[in-house]
């Protein structure tokens, strides 16, 4: 009983000592970073639709996504994307660049453990669940499409 009381008191104490994320500035930063990444994506989309006018819309989107994924991997390698991530919070996670960063960041981090067990295995620590859920979900969607 006494122990329980002590534990709850301790939890309250810990809660009061945890640095509070200031809500509004971080929301604004996430908005700004996420919005800018999407606007850059739109820029590449317009660029590709100017140079390759006979590509379909889905192909242009695919090219645009591949470009910003490549740039993100490069920025992760240079250590710049970590800075953007620390500043922008969810604004750097939710765009496709966050997915790309979640693959390249552990790959670079665990390089020391070797190519197979370092880079190739650790690459999917965060992206693995995304790909698994994506594949399973798309198969379910395919079944839904079959009966529509």
């Amino acid at each position: 009983m006494d122990k329980q009381k002590r534990n709850t008191n301790y939890n309250i104490y810990v809660e009061s000592k945890i640095p509070k994320t200031k809500a509004w500035p971080s929301l604004f930063k996430a908005f700004l970073v996420g919005g800018l990444i999407c606007a850059i994506g739109q820029g590449f989309y317009d660029l590709y639709s100017y140079f390759f006018p006979n590509l379909a819309e889905s192909e242009l989107t695919s090219c645009m996504l591949m470009t910003i994924i490549f740039i993100t991997c490069f920025l992760t390698g240079l250590g710049i994307y970590d800075v953007i991530g620390a500043w922008g919070g969810a604004g750097s996670v939710i765009p496709i660049t966050g997915f790309s960063n979640s693959i390249s960041s552990p790959a670079i981090e665990f390089k020391k453990e070797g190519i197979i067990y370092g880079i190739c295995v650790k690459m999917f620590t965060i992206a693995g669940p995304v790909i698994v859920c994506g594949v399973v979900g798309s198969i379910i969607c395919g079944f839904v499409g079959l009966f529509n």
Binding site: L27, A39, Q42, L65, M66, I131
Partner: protein, 125 residues
């Protein structure tokens, strides 16, 4: 071809989606993997109920760049391939539609992991 409004709407919609994500992060301390999976599934659900296509039409890159767009193209690929090729399309459609993004992410990560070393562990030693 070049339309300023496209950029404004991309910025606003993309920013708003990230704004919602940041609210989740503050409220629930959700991890990166969970937040990615959650928004991916939201994208799939939107696509299955045919809400995503008009949204994409309206928001341009603001709908395509967030991971929602990735989920939606997985779902759309599977549905389109099922309509075209039958049962085999259920299994081939999703990854075919997103092959470019996934391949580029894996390839670029592998190459840059070989080139660069970790920058996060500076100091300390």
């Amino acid at each position: 071809m070049f339309n300023v409004w496209d950029y404004v709407i991309s910025f606003l919609v993309g920013g708003f989606i990230c704004f919602l994500g940041q609210i989740l992060v503050i409220r629930t301390k959700i991890t990166t993997a969970r937040i990615l999976v959650l928004f991916l599934v939201i994208g799939m659900v939107l696509e299955v109920f045919n809400v995503y296509a008009p949204f994409r039409e309206f928001a341009k890159a603001g709908a395509a760049v967030p991971i929602i767009g990735f989920g939606a193209s997985l779902a759309r690929g599977a549905i389109m391939a099922t309509k075209e090729y039958g049962v085999i399309g259920i299994f081939t459609g999703g990854l075919t539609a997103t092959a470019g993004g996934i391949s580029m992410a894996i390839f670029a990560s592998f190459i840059f992991a070989l080139i660069f070393s970790s920058k996060t562990k500076r100091g300390g030693h």
